[in-house]
Symmetry: C2
Subunit: 420 residues, 2 copies
């Protein structure tokens, strides 16, 4: 997620604990990105990453933007603030902002246009020899990827389909971030095409399997990951690493607003949806009033819609109204744990290790471990509990217990306020 949620403090805490913290460069000025890199390096000597947005093509249909503006007039009245100028491609404007409601560091945020200062930020991260640079909304030119590699940077391109993965490999990316439809915030789809909406949205485990067989690059799995058992799962499915966003939004070091944090585990916000309502590009957020009222009417017009709604979202945040904000969230949001980021990294590592150990074929079942499946009694054809659970595929290999791995009696201490 771009904007204020992923700043130096959160990234430093994650990197310091042995993870790889990331700075969001999207929506920020090149100067702000340079400052944040310096601030992060003052906090930790460990490696870290920076995420950049690719420039966007001009919007296809200005009339659709106008129609959506008409629709949002009632929101402007409700929050007592005018709609932002949708702007045109290349027009910096002055009313764009961070995209993270409740965050008011205006001086750090540029008037976001379709280019997002891409060339200047690319120069900043190259000059700063940032260890890892990842890209969202497209694939950089081969020359840009080669220049970063020459500067010692590992390049990562976010992909949501096999075609994007193949294109990124051909362009020279060093690794891919494989983003499932479960992911919170913007989908990193390279070209937003509303005609593909119904068929888009591959689940992470399917996308991983498809991409794993299409490219040879290391894969970083993203989308809905909240627990170490899920991290072990994506490693089993062929990923080299896992990327978590929503899980860290509730950490004290994150820049997410208090309203946003609270909403993530509030039973009043039980579901998420992919929507263009807030930005004009599909992004997953908690279903609230604004999303419900406008989601189906929002055009594919990014960042025009983002600019139009930025002021509304800030006004809603000031008014303490989560129903007018963009509450980005992955599908697993209910599992968020408000731990300090370093502690969350340690818990995730321990959970991952436990799940991996339990999956190990050589794992010796503990004598008091439960059977994999309750004995249904003697079925007609003489099956055993071991035979039963595999449906129509694969029997537990060498021991029933070792096929029952990833819930070793609650690896994580039960926490107050955590839905179960």
């Amino acid at each position: 997620m771009a904007g204020g949620a992923s700043g130096p403090e959160l990234a430093a805490a994650v990197s310091g604990a042995g993870g790889l913290g990331f700075l969001a460069a999207g929506y920020k000025t090149p100067d702000a990105v340079r400052e944040e890199i310096l601030a992060l390096r003052a906090l930790t000597g460990r490696p870290f990453g920076v995420n950049l947005f690719l420039p966007q093509p001009p919007p296809a249909d200005p009339a659709a933007v106008d129609a959506y503006a008409g629709r949002l007039a009632s929101e402007a009245a409700r929050y007592g603030t005018p709609l932002g100028d949708p702007g045109t491609d290349g027009d910096g404007g002055s009313d764009g902002h961070d995209g993270h409601d409740g965050h008011d560091g205006h001086d750090r945020y540029d008037g976001y246009d379709g280019h997002d200062g891409y060339a200047a930020k690319l120069a900043v991260v190259t000059e700063a020899r940032v260890p890892v640079v990842s890209f969202t909304f497209g694939c950089p030119a081969p020359e840009a990827l080669a220049a970063l590699a020459a500067a010692g940077t590992l390049t990562v391109v976010t992909v949501t389909s096999v075609a994007e993965a193949v294109a990124a490999e051909r362009a020279g990316a060093a690794a891919l971030c494989v983003q499932g439809t479960e992911a919170g915030g913007h989908q990193g789809t390279h070209r937003d095409d509303p005609r593909a909406d119904g068929g888009a949205g591959l689940g992470l485990l399917t996308l991983l399997a498809l991409v794993r067989e299409a490219v040879a690059l290391p894969l970083i799995a993203a989308g809905g990951l909240m627990r170490g058992a899920q991290i072990a799962a994506v490693l089993a499915a062929g990923a080299t690493a896992a990327q978590l966003g929503t899980a860290f939004l509730v950490c004290p070091e994150s820049g997410a607003s208090e309203l946003h944090r609270r909403a993530l585990t509030d039973p009043l916000f039980p579901t998420t949806e992919l929507t263009r309502a807030f930005s004009g590009r599909p992004a997953r957020g908690l279903v609230n009033r604004f999303l419900r009222d406008h989601g189906r009417h929002a055009p594919a017009a990014y960042p025009q819609v983002h600019r139009m709604t930025a002021g509304l979202r800030r006004a809603a945040a000031r008014a303490g109204d989560p129903h007018g904000m963009a509450l980005w969230a992955g599908q697993g949001h209910r599992l968020a744990r408000p731990l300090p980021a370093a502690e969350l990294v340690r818990v995730l590592v321990a959970e991952t290790d436990a799940a991996r150990a339990a999956l190990c074929p050589a794992a010796v079942p503990s004598p008091d471990a439960p059977a994999a499946v309750p004995d249904p009694g003697p079925p007609a054809s003489g099956s055993t509990a071991r035979d039963v659970p595999t449906v129509p595929s694969v029997p537990p290999a060498s021991s029933a217990q070792s096929a029952h791995p990833a819930h070793p009696a609650q690896p994580v201490p039960s926490r107050e306020g955590e839905p179960t």
Copy 2:
């Protein structure tokens, strides 16, 4: 998937190879189900399962069914066959059919109504002491689950949400089939609610994590699973077993039509979509002309729409036109391998074992294994390749290679016609 695809031959082959083959009872007469159980037992002495549909509530809006019938008039003209009678709840009718295009065993298939002969089929499977009985589209009454358990049957309820999982546990189910949005064919959602469409569709790995923490029952993971590495993944995420449908549709023993099989790996059908176009309930199929033209207009009216379109789909199949058929497919369909079912089970077991072994923390990295991530050169802050790939979460625990598990140099022999 209900109907002709999962008959005795396929189930026997899967069970004979050590999996758990399933008979589909949906859309069949109680007598046909009894005969298929006998036929299956004549083929194998191994355990097997039978899947039943729960009765459906009456449709909410008959006017919407009429409107959709008007829309489908052009299809009736195109295929030279009248629309089926949508029927009313409890009306057996005589024109309903198998729901599997290209399968013409009419005598075995009832005129499908909203009850699907549920009570009679429940009596059949109870009397036959079927080892495993699973349920789709709802949760049986506690008494029915208890009666099956008393007969020595393991009961499995299909769930697509935490609420459904909790309800099934309370009703007394012995295990749950946890169905992600990736799954082919019908979603087993207990009550179809179009207002929830945008937020429905949890990815399997997210749904597993949520359900794992909400109930204590053994979980069978379903949805998009095509490779052993994915099976290892769901085991890591807390499942006890994996359930595969689309992967077995292309086996010679399956009852799927030749057109359906071919379409699954045909590059002309690259994507799937959840649609009510064919049956009136959300089901995932390959995007073809019929789905594209009518998907957005189809009402939530199952099985009325199923009955209306059954004749059209058969006529399209007879005409060799896959664009008028319901080409049910999970999101991983391109990875389908047309192996004999027993061989497919063996390949999946071998892949699963390899992925589990590679994930084992104690696995000794082979000396010539590739590093998890290509060395990006010496980054400014002195990271190593081992540190880099974990983004912002979890570093490979004890060895970089063991975090790079599930693509042990193509566990499956590369196959002709298989997209890569």
